[in-house]
Symmetry: C2
Subunit: 684 residues, 2 copies
């Protein structure tokens, strides 16, 4: 693994393409480097000038007489590779390439990027970009981007933000100033020619400056590496991921066969879930989570496992709406203790009701807020306090925000959240609250519920999370041949992995029918006969030899290709089992409701390939059909152990046979005792 | 129906409880009345003073020598009823009661409110409140509340806002100032002792000042009246409803039997859907919709039915994220026309791609935005244009917002939306955009998608909407007796309404078994035997008389009560049909997947009682199981006409039998030809 320390924490920077011309990026980056107060050495490189912005300019990196930790390149794409070689010659190990016109811009650009990769591997260069905004490191006062950025003063650990979009960085930089967002690092990944998110995620694990990691990603190329890295990181530092480019149009489309269910967006979903990342699905949620986890991470609240929230409000309507919203996200509002009720009754006798959520009425001034907040902050079974306010006739908005801040500072074991609803009358207080490191302030209660739900999920999940380990990674990446296996061979494969199968015999004529037990099912199988029930390739309920012979003839007439097989007719709950190999995340194991309702209800759970018994059980338990499998209303249930075993065997099969790109068992007849694969399809 | 014109548009107001003491609501309301510039007469009433705030004060309403349109009462609750009678005596027809401590405050208060209702009916008083914030009417410059409100200057029609929470009003008043929200009316309903939302909704239908109606409601007491009123109003004026207090905890709870599925939150959902209201499910969505529909309503966009949106952005990441968000809400991004592509290529040659969404790149200045916006605004198959911006090195934020506004003013046939992402660098432009009546500006793209989806839904729905008419309203409201009907009588009821039933015979011994056709099902029925499959009250697959006799004996042993019936064993797709009578919304008709999966997948559609064939079809089509009913993959389907017919008959049955509180048919065996009710439960 590349050592990224000097890329991210350089002591000396050469800016190749530095410029005097204010309209050029090379000028903006130089002035950002200077303006930020970077304490290391800055060496502008541009043969056209002797001096740029008061600094000595070098005609070439080769002419710089001292060691350079990091080169930032911002020259037209056509010249980049040549300069990169010069960097290599000079012994510079770390390079940021701002310049665009690489793989994102046609064939010419793609070639250019290939060449770049070759140079990088030749000289062992760490490269960020190309086509990126650059790098910010707050603790070094380093702004090596062409966007404005205000450094925060705090020494507290903060957020490392990795972004596949430069514009997202510009937006966050700008947004962060009013939000006291403690951004320690910002990295614009650009085209990820050499270094990708996984390299940096791994680095941040041991960086004491970093308490929260955030990533905006449009593509996760090495999903297995991502799961490995993030599953190791997330128990220590929350990792917030906004994966865009994941349009849901595909999901709503009809499901043509089980294979398509594990398509790429399901892979990303399953992979993110396995990694332990906290996921946002839109910008608003993403920004909310950044601030929330920054503050939550700095409080001593983790010991409170209930995750309950106490709401205090001067407004009845918003209180009801907020309770709805919290409830819909599964956030718990614990009952007030008798002690607290007693204290509140004494201190605020004018209330009509003493409960959670607590309505302190429209005429509440800051003193009433203070009494309420101080009392509820002592409650043991809550981990956070949400203060709601709307400006009413007796409300003292600014004063209330100050009181809230004081209470928050005093009670470091609770997380304080606020939401002041309104416009001009609350703006000053909101600006004030946004800047407090002890409070997470929100524009609307919906975001509060969202963040609290994610917080609870994170706390529950990170405890139990085991590091992901990509198995035969070297063997993966085999291109699918789209070739179906022979039907009977497929059954043999299952048997090899101890997945019980229905006894299945090839039948061609009378002779083969002697040894069979009736009633029978006769099927026509072969590579061109996939959806058997559709194409009338299956005949059920055969009671005797004569019927069987007739069926064989019918199938022979219907299909030119393939051969016929016979199985005894079975019953049981029909289950779907299978896997599909994703090029990025590896095998995705599936279990779901089989039979005629498979495509109707899509009651399917998907997990990545390193399945454990615990997670296999969870998959089954999370199925909607689970109550039925378990046995509802006193009915006998089905053999869940057999299903778990089959799932685990399937995962082993997937890992040990990287040449198989897809496998479906549908139906798997789950019975009171045991279970049997009734049909299987294997594709290489 | 009460004439509310003078309540809402008074020419003279008496303020009973007017005060000189600034801490009192009576002082704040008086100063709000004066400050707003109300042009009518204001008569403060308070025996303690001769003059209040420069106005002559009257010792009693009875002493006022001129006619009074509206009395506003703000005195302690204990005195309200006496004063109310004085108002009646004086001939005042319209009263707002601000005072609290009525039905919301214990037994004493409830009695007080009962008395108030009696006085109101005696004197035929229109009463708003009690326990409310009051009334605002912008066109009269009337602020009869104790909250600050800034009147908008525009004469354009605008929003009438009805709120069951006063605090919600305070929040919206404050928020509206920075948003150019054109609030024509605000009404705080309070306890709705006399007048409720339906009265006002009805009034706004013909008020030319009102183009959009918004309501925040915590309870809809007369759901049938609500559906009647709103379904008549909404084709002309969009009605935006935020119904809170609808906690989803109930929905996630296990479904004990079908009855609970039509519980109150389902009733509200079905009722709102039937009314044609546009629904918000949180505060942020609600506020977004207010501004969106105010602006959308004032544009000439309705003729464009596609609802497509064109996105223009200087930021790649936010563009991808926004496309995801639009897609997930089903909002269409039509292709750019060849003409537009050609024009863009000529005018902005530096772009790498010319499509929708349109990335005009990070260095876009306001001129590039202008060119792009002007070109896409000419596109015929879009109804709206969304401008995204993040502040980057070349971005001229304020100038871009001005350019956008100019383009929006010129193109009145499109709706212009914007979203400027960031913080301080975009704040001024956002403030500017928020104040433009031609633009809807959003903080985040997620809200844009939400509003666009609601807009499309509204346009589609309002076209087809038929007014709801409560049928036997006078007969409704019968209290459920929780009494089960006799099993065979229940079947007879279905037959009376031409719902086909399985032939069902009471069997007590040998004799009854002669005339039956095997295979048989024997069931034990009776009021105490509800879930037959659980309690082993059903024996299937009886092949002959001997088995039948044995089954009869078994059932007799198992159950002390009830009697046994026999049915021939049937097959078909198992469907659930039923209705439940809601005290507010009337009968709710249900259709869904029956059998063992009923409770697992809850694949059920619910409609209110005035079912039409069209809507019955839609219910069936919206079932997830519909593809199976229709016949998937070349399989034969089921008799949908028979199902439609049964649904409609059920609706008639529900309307004509108001004493029945619940009826379930489960299963209804839907077959290739026809269908049969296999089991039915009727509860009064």
């Amino acid at each position: 693994m590349a050592d990224l320390k000097r890329l991210l924490n350089p002591k000396s920077v050469a800016l190749i393409g530095a410029s005097q011309n204010r309209a050029k990026l090379g000028s903006q980056i130089l002035s950002n480097l200077k303006k930020g107060g970077f304490t290391g050495k800055i060496c502008p490189v541009n043969p056209k000038y002797k001096k740029i912005q008061g600094l000595k300019s070098y005609p070439s990196v080769l002419k710089i007489d001292s060691h350079i930790d990091l080169a930032v390149i911002v020259i037209p794409a056509g010249f980049v590779n040549q300069i990169l070689e010069e960097c290599g010659e000079k012994g510079i190990k770390n390079v940021i390439i701002i310049s665009a016109d690489f793989s994102e811009a046609g064939e010419e650009g793609k070639k250019r990027e290939k060449r770049l990769e070759k140079i990088a591997s030749e000289y062992k260069l760490n490269i960020l970009g190309p086509n990126c905004l650059g790098l910010v490191n707050s603790s070094r006062n380093l702004n090596a981007t062409f966007a404005d950025f205000s450094f925060t003063k705090t020494r507290e650990p903060g957020i490392a933000f990795i972004s596949q979009s430069g514009a997202m960085g510009s937006a966050v930089f700008d947004w962060s100033t009013g939000q006291a967002l403690n951004l320690k690092y910002f990295l614009s990944l650009g085209n990820k020619a050499v270094l990708g998110e996984n390299n940096f995620l791994d680095y941040f694990k041991d960086d004491p400056q970093v308490s929260v990691v955030a990533a905006y990603l449009e593509e996760i190329e090495d999903g297995q590496g991502f799961m490995e890295t993030v599953s190791r990181l997330t128990p220590y530092k929350p990792v917030i991921v906004f994966k865009s480019g994941q349009s849901r149009a595909g999901k709503s489309a009809a499901l043509s066969h089980t294979g398509s269910m594990a398509g790429s967006s399901q892979a990303v979903e399953a992979g993110l879930a396995r990694s332990g990342a906290i996921t946002a699905d839109n910008l608003e949620n993403f920004f909310s989570l950044l601030k929330f986890f920054q503050v939550a991470g700095s409080r001593e609240t983790n010991r409170f496992s209930s995750g309950g929230v106490q709401v205090v409000s001067n407004a009845g309507g918003p209180l009801v709406a907020t309770a709805d919203s919290l409830d819909s996200q599964g956030v718990n509002l614990p009952k007030l203790s008798d002690q607290a009720v007693k204290k509140l009754k004494k201190e605020i006798p004018e209330l009509t009701d003493y409960k959670n959520p607590l309505d302190i009425l429209g005429d509440a001034d800051e003193q009433r807020y203070k009494k309420a907040l101080e009392t509820v902050s002592r409650e043991k079974n809550i981990s956070s306090v949400l203060t709601l306010l709307t400006p009413q006739s007796g409300t003292r908005v600014k004063k209330t925000s100050q009181v809230l801040n004081k209470v928050a500072r005093k009670n470091s074991k609770k997380l304080f959240l606020s939401c002041f609803l309104g416009g001009e009358a609350v703006q000053e207080a909101k600006d004030y609250l946004n800047k407090q490191p002890e409070i997470v302030n929100f524009d609307y209660p919906g975001q509060v519920s969202f963040c609290l739900a994610k917080w609870r999920e994170y706390r529950e999940k990170s405890k139990a999370l085991k590091p992901f380990q990509a198995l035969n990674k070297e063997k993966e990446g085999i291109k699918p041949k789209n070739k179906s296996w022979d039907y009977l061979d497929s059954f043999k494969l299952l048997q090899k992995y101890k997945i019980p199968v229905l006894k299945t015999e090839k039948v061609t004529g009378k002779k083969d029918l002697e040894k069979l037990r009736y009633p029978l099912v006769v099927k026509r199988v072969g590579p061109e006969i996939i959806h058997k029930t559709d194409k009338k390739g299956i005949i059920l309920g055969i009671q005797n030899k004569a019927e069987a012979l007739k069926a064989l003839k019918t199938l022979e007439k219907r299909f030119k290709s393939g051969y016929s097989v016979a199985q005894s007719q079975e019953s049981g709950q029909e289950i779907l089992l299978g896997f599909k190999r994703d090029p990025s995340f590896g095998p995705l194991i599936m279990v779901g409701l089989g039979g005629i309702y498979t495509e109707i209800f899509k009651d399917i759970r998907i997990e990545v390939g390193d399945l454990s018994l615990e997670r296999a059980r969870k998959m089954i338990k999370n199925l909607r059909v689970y109550p039925l499998l378990k046995g509802a209303r006193g009915e006998k249930g089905y053999d869940l152990k057999a299903l778990e075993k089959a799932l685990l065997s399937l995962a082993t099969l997937a890992r040990e046979n990287p040449e198989i790109s897809e496998l479906d068992i549908n139906p798997f007849f789950l019975q009171e005792k045991g279970g049997l694969a009734g049909d299987v399809r294997v594709i290489e």
